[in-house]
């Protein structure tokens, strides 16, 4: 056991402990010397720790795996992942100067590469995003991560109001509106590294027999009220069921990116009992207006099953809460919570493929029912990848292959990469995308045959692993609206907060 001297100035939460297989302290923490500073060279940061007041002059600040900075066009600091953004205002001034200088030449700055770091720039309206990353991810992926950060900010403020604010006052300090939401952005950045749903642009569902899922959806479909647009059931960051209002969605689709932002918000809110009623904007659905989200756990105190109801009516709290009550009742009478609790997450061993260690499988958009919502499935991590560090390392490898295989100028169909620690395969066909990880000494013959076995298993379990249809309902307010009618904003109740 390590003495308390090693803890230094770090706030430690027991649930953050990342025990590796040996049960010892993770190696990154073991490198902490007595003054509490991290030894140079560790590439993984322990999530959940507060970095707000980290000393920006220190070696440890420089060594972070990924920095993200958000600033306004006027160079005013808005957010920094590590360190106090006020202390970084001159560094942010330099970043803005680089952006402006290149812009003045009729050009646009994109990125800077050095041996150890990649710096990526993104400008969206009046906001500038900069990522300084030691991960060697591709520029495209780092930029799409910055885009997620932008969208998360939009989800809290809406794009229209951000643009309007800065139009009126270029020097506005956006921190005034984002006060207290740093943890939302921190949480997003933490989870992006270790969750494949971001780079796959897909949603992971809870495996459930389709009959159970249909029954759950049916309960949700019955508990509606005017202006209710979406109802979700979420369990442990996986989607259990989603039902949606028919007419609003004639032309628009719910994108995985919006769902990720929603999941993040819920995860970060970390509430246990009770309910939340909060405005939320879904940027890819409609970046300029708010929905109102009712969020409650259906199974306190375990808090694993979360209900989210989205309405367009600010005043609808009681009506929506009533829906929740109806759902709770129906759940209780059918003992529906048991279905979710009994769900079996699967491991690679369950499939009977000896050399396969992990995979990501994403059915293609071509199949009609998946076109509605891109989904993927993956098994629980095997022993070798349970630590945060190994998990991120594996995902980095997947991300690199994803980037190569989807390169816009020279895309590929297949990559087979044998290296020291594992053999990786990436495969894109018209029907699916597959990323698989095998033991390092697997022969090509075994890899192919195990892959074939895996595909067969996935086909067999398709119903259980994916949501195959998205049930719809119609709220009484708009009976018989034809699909050619275009509702104007006042009719559907979609309006801006500001």
């Amino acid at each position: 056991m390590h003495s308390s001297d090693n803890r230094g100035s770090w706030e430690f939460h027991p649930e953050d402990t990342l025990t590796e297989d040996t049960g010892n302290f993770p190696s990154t923490l073991a490198q902490v010397n007595f003054s509490g500073q991290k030894k140079a060279g560790s590439a993984v940061d322990v999530p959940g720790l507060a970095y707000r007041n980290e000393d920006i002059m220190s070696e440890s600040w420089r060594k972070h795996r990924k920095h993200v900075f958000v600033l306004s066009e006027a160079g005013k600091p808005i957010y920094s992942r590590y360190g106090n953004e006020e202390a970084l205002s001159s560094a942010m001034g330099v970043m803005m100067a680089l952006v402006s200088f290149v812009q003045a030449g009729g050009n646009m700055i994109q990125s800077i590469f050095s041996d150890e770091h990649t710096v990526v720039f993104l400008q969206k309206g009046p906001l500038v995003f900069v990522s300084v990353s030691a991960t060697r991810q591709s520029e495209q992926q780092l930029r799409s991560e910055l885009l997620h950060v932008y969208h998360q900010i939009v989800s809290m403020l809406t794009q229209a109001s951000i643009n309007r604010i800065f139009e009126r006052r270029k020097n506005f300090d956006l921190r005034r509106l984002l006060f207290g939401s740093e943890k939302v952005l921190d949480g997003l950045l933490d989870v992006m590294d270790s969750d494949p749903s971001f780079f796959l642009s897909a949603v992971q569902c809870l495996p459930l027999p389709s009959s159970s899922r249909d029954a759950l959806s049916h309960i949700l479909q019955k508990a509606i009220t005017p202006d209710l647009v979406f109802s979700f059931l979420i369990s442990n960051n996986r989607l259990v069921s989603v039902v949606q209002e028919k007419t609003v969605l004639e032309d628009a689709r719910l994108k995985p990116s919006d769902l990720h932002l929603l999941f993040n918000l819920i995860r970060v809110s970390a509430f246990q009992a009770g309910e939340i009623w909060t405005p939320i904007c879904l940027p890819l659905f409609n970046p300029d207006c708010y929905f109102y989200a009712y969020v409650a756990y259906l199974d306190p105190p375990e808090c694993t099953v979360c209900l989210v109801l989205l309405s367009t009516d600010k005043e609808a709290f009681y009506a929506v809460a009533e829906c929740k009550r109806k759902i709770e009742e129906a759940f209780a009478s059918q003992n529906a919570l048991q279905w979710v609790a009994n769900t079996q997450l699967y491991y690679v061993n369950d499939i009977g493929v000896a050399n396969l260690k992990h995979f990501l499988y994403k059915p293609s958009k071509v199949l009609d029912h998946y076109r509605q919502m891109p989904q993927f499935t993956c098994p629980e991590m095997e022993v070798g990848y349970r630590s945060q560090q190994e998990r991120i390392r594996l995902l980095d490898l997947y991300r690199n292959m994803y980037n190569r295989i989807h390169c816009s100028s020279r895309p590929l169909k297949l990559i087979y990469h044998s290296a020291g620690k594992e053999t990786l395969l990436a495969w894109v066909t018209s029907k699916f995308e597959m990323f698989a990880c095998f033991t390092p000494l697997v022969t090509k013959k075994s890899a192919i045959s195990e892959l074939t076995k895996l595909l067969r298993w996935l086909k067999k379990e398709e119903d259980r692993l994916f949501i195959c249809q998205l049930p719809r309902y119609s709220t009484a307010l708009h009976p018989g609206r034809s699909s050619t009618d275009r509702p104007n904003t006042s009719d559907t109740g979609l309006f801006s907060l500001l």
């Binding site: 420089r62 920095h67 560094a91 330099v94 970043m95 100067a97 680089l98 200088f101 290149v102 009729g106 050009n107 646009m108 700055i109 994109q110 990125s111 800077i112 590469f113 050095s114 041996d115 150890e116 770091h117 710096v119 300084v132 060697r136 520029e139 690199n400 190569r404 390169c407 816009s408 100028s409 020279r410 895309p411 590929l412 169909k413 297949l414 990559i415 087979y416 990469h417 044998s418 290296a419 020291g420 000494l441 022969t443 090509k444 013959k445 192919i448």
Partner: protein, 480 residues
């Protein structure tokens, strides 16, 4: 450079522009640290027509970027800047001396109707950093080979001498850069070795020893045949730059006079010499003329330690070329050249025809070249040996490849992936055109194979590569 795309729809053409050099400059921030002195930092700037303040601003941007990246890693600052329209490469070959090369991104110009200006689409992904970064480094190496280091020039004659040397060298050298045809081979900067049997190799070795013994002034020797290296006494890094100079600049300038027709103007060079076919490629063009002035180019080697300045004597007979390097302090006069000529000429001529004969015998024995069916590139980091059956001709102007440029870029991507870790790896890729590309890295060797087998699967491709490795590479690479 502009290329017209073969896609022509209703008379309107898409124009494809390949990457080209926008600017190239060298600066040292220490030379103009105070405000108002910025111009003093700039030691060389191409194109020269650029207005002074713009030069200063561009240099300032580079300084700012380097400083910014130093915030995160003081020892490893920026190497490249990507913008929508161009890409800038940074290289600090000596402390505080920075070289920057700005390349315009390839782009496609699509015509618009109704007299609207054409839309331009920039293709940033077409430029691979490692390729052009290497080209920039080679610029320095070539400069250094013929001029010594920046710091020595500064020590000897201050900023004036340094800027003079830079101007003189880069003005010409930049014109030889053909950025549209740079690829993986630029990353390797390798040397093509001539395959020889043991006996002939020993003959060459003993020839070199004999000459070095008789002409005690000779410090280093290098022996080439057919634009390929056989033996070198120089340090690897110096030899690779010298090799590039010889094969892309010096040799192409001197075609074989004996291949020229009877009435060709080249003939007089060999006139009257019936004893041998040897002649000087550097130095005296015609030994018979007593009044002709000549001088040998100077090169600088071992700049890290002994820092030697040498005369470069290149002497050729038929397809064999020998480089003799002599201390630059020595004055090489006509007498010395005649002595060298009469000693080396006959021996080298004999040796050259020996090698030729042996080579032909070997070819007959081993049968027609099996390699052409395999398109591959091989590079060994330890001895810089490089072999490519994809590149058909390498001169200073162009490097023709027999595969689609996109495939070469895929090789570049695989090479970048290999560079991430220091382990043995294998990457097999199937491209959209159904070509297979196999990259293997083992020890310090890399092999890239391109297979045009549309209906093959992974296992079949694996078998093909196994066959290639067994015949060509004697199982250096591990395979499953």
């Amino acid at each position: 450079m502009l290329m017209i795309s073969p896609r022509m729809a209703s008379g309107m053409q898409e124009k494809q522009y390949t990457p080209s050099l926008l600017s190239f400059f060298i600066y040292n921030p220490k030379f103009g640290p105070r405000e108002g002195e910025e111009e003093k930092k700039i030691l060389f700037y191409h194109p020269i027509e650029i207005e002074k303040n713009e030069k200063i601003r561009n240099v300032g941007l580079c300084e700012a970027i380097v400083q910014f990246t130093r915030t995160f890693c003081p020892t490893k600052p920026a190497k490249s800047l990507h913008t929508q329209k161009n890409r800038q490469f940074f290289h600090e070959p000596e402390e505080n001396y920075w070289m920057v090369m700005v390349v315009r991104n390839p782009m496609v110009e699509k015509p618009n109707k109704d007299g609207k200006p054409p839309t331009v689409e920039y293709q940033e992904e077409e430029i691979i950093d490692s390729v052009y970064g290497s080209v920039l480094q080679q610029c320095y190496c070539m400069y250094k080979l013929f001029n010594g280091t920046f710091s020595r020039a500064f020590e000897a004659g201050g900023v004036e001498l340094l800027t003079q040397k830079l101007e003189k060298f880069f003005y010409r050298y930049l014109q030889t850069l053909h950025l549209q045809s740079c690829d993986l081979l630029d990353v390797f900067g390798g040397i093509s070795f001539f395959p020889l049997d043991k006996m002939t190799y020993l003959k060459i070795q003993s020839f070199v020893n004999r000459v070095e013994e008789s002409l005690s002034l000779v410090k280093y020797t290098a022996f080439l045949y057919n634009d390929q290296l056989i033996w070198s006494g120089l340090e690897q890094d110096d030899m690779r730059t010298l090799y590039k100079y010889l094969t892309t600049s010096l040799f192409p300038r001197h075609t074989e006079p004996e291949l020229a027709g009877k009435d060709s103007p080249l003939r007089p060079e060999v006139a009257g010499n019936l004893l041998h076919y040897g002649r000087f490629l550097t130095g005296p063009a015609n030994l018979k003329d007593p009044d002709a002035k000549f001088r040998f180019p100077r090169i600088f080697v071992n700049t890290e330690d002994s820092y030697e300045e040498l005369h470069l004597i290149v002497y050729k007979a038929m397809s064999a070329a020998v480089c003799f390097m002599v201390n630059a302090a020595v004055d090489l006069n006509r007498e010395f050249c005649e002595q060298l000529d009469s000693l080396v000429g006959p021996q080298l001529t004999l040796l050259a025809s020996d090698i030729c004969e042996q080579f032909n015998i070997n070819r007959r024995i081993s049968g027609p070249e099996k390699e052409p069916q395999f398109k591959f590139i091989y590079f060994n980091q330890m001895n810089l040996a490089e072999k490519s059956t994809i590149h058909m001709r390498k001169t200073s102007s162009v490097s023709l490849t027999s595969v689609h440029p996109d495939l070469m870029k895929i090789l570049g991507d695989i090479n970048c992936d290999f560079a991430r870790v220091d382990e043995d790896e294998e990457i097999i890729v199937k491209a959209m055109t159904d070509y297979w590309v196999v990259g293997k890295k083992s020890d310090q060797r890399e092999l890239y194979v391109i297979l045009n087998q549309k209906n093959a699967n992974l296992i079949e491709v694996n078998e093909e590569v196994k066959r290639l490795c067994a015949t060509q590479f004697n199982n250096i690479f591990f395979l499953d």
